[in-house]
């Protein structure tokens, strides 16, 4: 098809590989924005989810945060962010985009970490107490490893949203691969739009793949859903893919005696 030929030509054009608006620089901008937003979100959200889940307190807050977060369209958050925080830059990254991405990334991490930690079986928690482990030890050395698949699921959901929204950030004057799509649509240069879309899709799939690999390496073999020693919790898929937590599915631990 002629169109794909023009897309090929776009990729073959040396101009698109150099300078500020070249593919390498746009890719770096996209990665930088994604990584910085994810790291800041993790630093904020992970300890909150960890402690809430370990103490089994504030479950409603932890779950509702993510439900409210889901109802707010990321596009709206981005544009509102640009109004609230202006279009200033931090270290070359759009401030509005960065803050919106952090805000988007926090809820799934809190919720999934909370759910993962709070669903650790009572008998396991008791055994850890019985062998004389202190609260912090139990949290980090017993509960966290068991909760890890869900913690990772949360991180993957967040990363997915952040990569996608970093693409949209192009509309509020941010860099990143979204520029090819947004600028291309503006001048109806569809080969450029298509090429940008391919780059974004490839990046998102790569990041998801890397995180899935990281999860495989870090999660204990005994927790895998497949295999002879599979631990399968009803309704909670401990296996790789992303868990979508529903408000109604969270047992209310506070009611337990």
């Amino acid at each position: 098809m002629d169109f794909l030929g023009r897309v090929y030509d776009w990729f073959a054009d040396g101009q698109n590989w150099s300078g500020n608006s070249g593919i390498p620089n746009r890719l770096i901008e996209h990665l930088q924005l994604t990584l910085v937003a994810m790291l800041i979100a993790l630093v904020i959200a992970f300890p909150i989810g960890l402690v809430l889940g370990h103490t089994r307190r504030g479950g409603n807050v932890a779950v509702n945060v993510s439900n409210i977060g889901r109802a707010i369209p990321s596009f709206a958050l981005l544009v509102l962010g640009a109004q609230l925080w202006g279009i200033g830059e931090i270290e070359g990254m759009s401030k509005a985009a960065l803050l919106a991405l952090i805000a988007l990334a926090i809820p799934p991490i809190i919720t999934n970490t909370y759910v993962g930690m709070s669903q650790v079986d009572e008998s396991i928690r008791d055994s850890a107490k019985g062998v004389g482990m202190r609260s912090t030890q139990r949290m980090l050395r017993v509960e966290l490893p068991i909760a890890l698949p869900l913690v990772f699921a949360g991180i993957r959901i967040s990363a997915l949203q952040v990569v996608a929204t970093a693409t949209l950030a192009a509309v509020v004057a941010s860099g990143g691969l979204g520029r090819f799509i947004v600028d291309g649509i503006a001048v109806r240069d569809f080969p450029k739009v298509f090429a940008g879309a391919l780059l974004v899709a490839a990046l998102a799939l790569t990041i998801e793949g890397v995180l899935a690999l990281g999860q495989r390496v870090m999660v204990s073999d005994g927790l895998r859903a497949e295999g002879p020693r599979a631990v399968r919790q009803p309704g909670l898929e401990a296996q790789g893919s992303m868990l979508l937590v529903e408000a109604g599915s969270i047992p209310n631990r506070e009611e337990a005696p």
């Binding site: 596009f75 709206a76 109004q83 799509i181 739009v193 979508l244």
Partner: protein
């Protein structure tokens, strides 16, 4: 660049109610288009997801490829998926609908399969014993029992679709995203705020409505409590 700063310094109010009063038809039109796109996307998603899920329950080897494919589609950012279709379907309704429906597949197939596989074997045996054929057992016993999980999937799919529909404004389609985009390009806060707030409200209303449908459709889940 400095223009936005000026607007902020001037203290442009977040909502100018006179604009809202004058543009009621624009706002209602955007809301209607938003609802239409959402409903079409979720229905189209269901039309694909139900047979795929039934097949994946019947032939388990289908689950891994079906979930993986839905997962890959789900992973591709929305703006990119819209953009990939633009050369073929133009800046059209179809270009918006196909990605929106594809995204629901990930949630729907997973929840339908989980729901159906959660039906206790004893219940299926009982249905067989009472003389249900495979189709009758599916329709009258298994699907109703899987309904809470299926409805949870539909609710989740609907809420995320409502959020994603706003992005379709970037390929020139209507919906509440058009108001947000309008506010962005004109540095005018009112449509931006109205579009965002209505989108959130729509998500909440849709969720409550679907929860109501679920309650009505599964009376036994409340019996005996």
């Amino acid at each position: 660049m400095s223009h936005l700063a000026t607007v902020l310094a001037d203290g442009d109010p977040w909502v100018r109610w006179s604009w809202v009063a004058d543009h009621g038809d624009v706002i209602m039109g955007a809301l209607r288009e938003h609802i239409v796109l959402t409903v079409q996307a979720v229905l189209l998603g269901l039309v694909v997801a139900v047979p795929v899920s039934l097949a994946a329950v019947r032939w388990r080897w289908l689950q891994a490829p079906a979930f993986s494919l839905a997962g890959i589609l789900y992973t591709i950012p929305s703006l990119a998926l819209f953009a990939i279709l633009v050369p073929w379907t133009g800046l059209s309704h179809t270009t918006a609908l196909i990605p929106l429906a594809s995204y629901t597949l990930f949630i729907l197939t997973r929840n339908i399969v989980t729901g159906l596989e959660g039906v206790p074997p004893a219940v299926k045996d009982a249905a067989d014993g009472m003389g249900y054929g495979p189709t009758a057992r599916l329709v009258k016993v298994e699907l109703p029992l899987a309904l809470p999980s299926i409805m949870a999937g539909i609710r989740l799919a609907t809420i995320s679709t409502i959020g994603l529909v706003t992005v379709t404004a970037l390929i020139g389609l209507g919906g509440l995203g058009q108001l947000i985009n309008d506010g962005l390009t004109r540095d005018f806060r009112t449509p931006l705020v109205i579009g965002s707030v209505l989108s959130v409200l729509l998500a909440i209303v849709a969720d409550v409505l679907l929860l109501g449908v679920q309650r009505v459709a599964t009376p036994w889940t409340r019996a005996g409590r």
